[in-house]
């Protein structure tokens, strides 16, 4: 049995993603008959039907679903290879892909990255913002800012300190609704919080209770403005919708945002991580270092160290 040509996998993946031969052809810069022939040949070589040709488009079969993750992996690796080769071996240039949470990526990273790029005009930054952690081992990203300690081997990780979360509100809201003085007061306020009870939220709630014994839990307080999107929470606070959590350093930067119950604190330990092999890549190394330094600055003389 002959191995399929690797490019067939790329075509296969495009068809999986788009759901049609024509769309895949457009993405790949090929034509629809070519894509169709690629699929045919892959099916022949693998001895599997990959798509059932129904008139309303192609339906991937079980076999297609099964091998798709492998094709995705091929794609991320190929993309990583191109990023790697995009930069020289001495100078800080080329493409670096960074993954971070949306709040960090939008509120914290821009000045850090702008300064980095000012120093290295040849550097192109790709920002992938999501709470789904992209896999550094599979090179889905080159450098990551994480709020959970990366457990995988073969990663260079650096703790940059703890980002502190605290309750904040807009002065407009506080003049209207009053300023809470005790944890118990919060029960009478409009609280901004999470929508779903994700694993992170449950963990955070438990930790919050541990750190701040007087703080009532979700059940007792009740949340009036719920969203899982951290940026939306921040926007709600800014708009005077109520009291919610945001990063204290972030709030300090905002023109008019006031801290509420300053004793309540929730530290978010933060790491920067990248694959070991990328240490020797100037662009990744420089980005890593800039992120570490920038975040430590942001946190305010963080603990640093490994």
């Amino acid at each position: 049995m002959n191995d399929p040509d690797w490019s067939l996998y790329r075509t296969f993946l495009a068809v999986c993603r788009t759901g049609s031969l024509s769309a895949a052809a457009r993405d790949l810069g090929l034509t629809q008959p070519t894509v169709g022939r690629h699929v045919d040949e892959l099916e022949r070589l693998l001895r599997r039907t990959l798509f059932t040709r129904s008139p309303q488009g192609l339906m991937p079969t079980d076999a297609a679903v099964e091998i798709r993750p492998y094709a995705e992996s091929l794609a991320t690796t190929a993309a990583a290879l191109l990023r790697q080769v995009s930069g020289g071996l001495e100078r800080v240039e080329g493409i670096v892909r960074i993954t971070a949470s949306d709040v960090i990526g939008i509120e914290v990273l821009p000045p850090i990255l702008a300064q980095l790029q000012a120093a290295h005009p040849g550097l192109v930054v790709e920002l992938s913002l999501s709470d789904l952690v992209e896999d550094l081992l599979h090179r889905e990203a080159d450098v990551a800012v994480r709020m959970t300690r990366p457990v995988q081997d073969a990663l260079v990780i650096r703790a940059v300190g703890e980002i502190e979360l605290g309750l904040h509100a807009h002065p407009d809201y506080l003049t209207r609704a009053g300023t809470p003085e005790t944890f118990a007061d919060l029960a009478r306020h409009r609280m901004i919080g999470f929508d779903r009870q994700t694993a992170f939220v449950r963990m955070a709630t438990a930790e919050m209770r541990r750190l701040n014994p007087g703080f009532s839990t979700v059940e007792q307080i009740g949340w009036h403005y719920r969203t899982d999107n951290n940026l939306a929470q921040l926007a709600a606070i800014r708009a005077g919708a109520g009291i919610g959590f945001c990063q204290t350093r972030l709030a300090e930067r905002q023109p008019r945002l006031q801290r509420v119950l300053p004793d309540l604190r929730y530290p978010l330990p933060t790491w920067v991580a990248m694959h070991e092999d990328l240490k020797s890549s100037p662009r990744c190394r420089a980005t890593f270092d800039a992120l570490v330094e920038g975040l430590q600055d942001y946190i305010g003389g963080g603990t640093g160290g490994r």
Copy 2:
């Protein structure tokens, strides 16, 4: 800039591995001019010289060395894809790749795997024996038998108990040199042990000292027959070269191998691991289960559990 065709990476990798266009062509089932053209095109698309054409063969450039790991990763993924598709979705058949240490693979696994294959004639087993842990996340292997606890996420792991190591010798040796009665006696014996001071050996030495306070360390005993190959150690013990460590259950099976200082024990915790995604693959699941059961039997009603 156009993306290079993924098959160019495969050709590139073959050239890296073989060191010549002709050899790569033979491996790939292509011809030498084709391989040369592929390399040319990849160099053109990446804007990098990958090989310096010297008369005495091709020398990979720094750029080639840099991207080779990515090409290797592509190759392992493609291989994993083919293994995946080699089996059906319901029946236990196709190719399963297992990695284990050499002693386990040669002395322990054969009957387990033979029984597994007897039950499932369509199952093809690939055994990769090495102390280098192949990366399950990158699908270098489907199932692994490990002596260290796998730390990576996204793995299904199962503790199968502790394999006990003990000192053993051939009766011929013992009649010739006497049977040691105390740890101190070992100093007067021919000891079989490791060659280099690897991280594992250092750790094992420390652990050994902790578990068996009276046991002298390497420095005090002195090793007279040194090899890092565990099979070679076992062979030396069998040949009556002296006293060395081997698995007690293994020694029991040998026709004539006698335990020495039975109080001395060194338990080797053992795990079976595979990638989470492969749980739904019958061939991997069956292999995983068979290995767990077989190893628990081997250990002798091991502790089991997770």
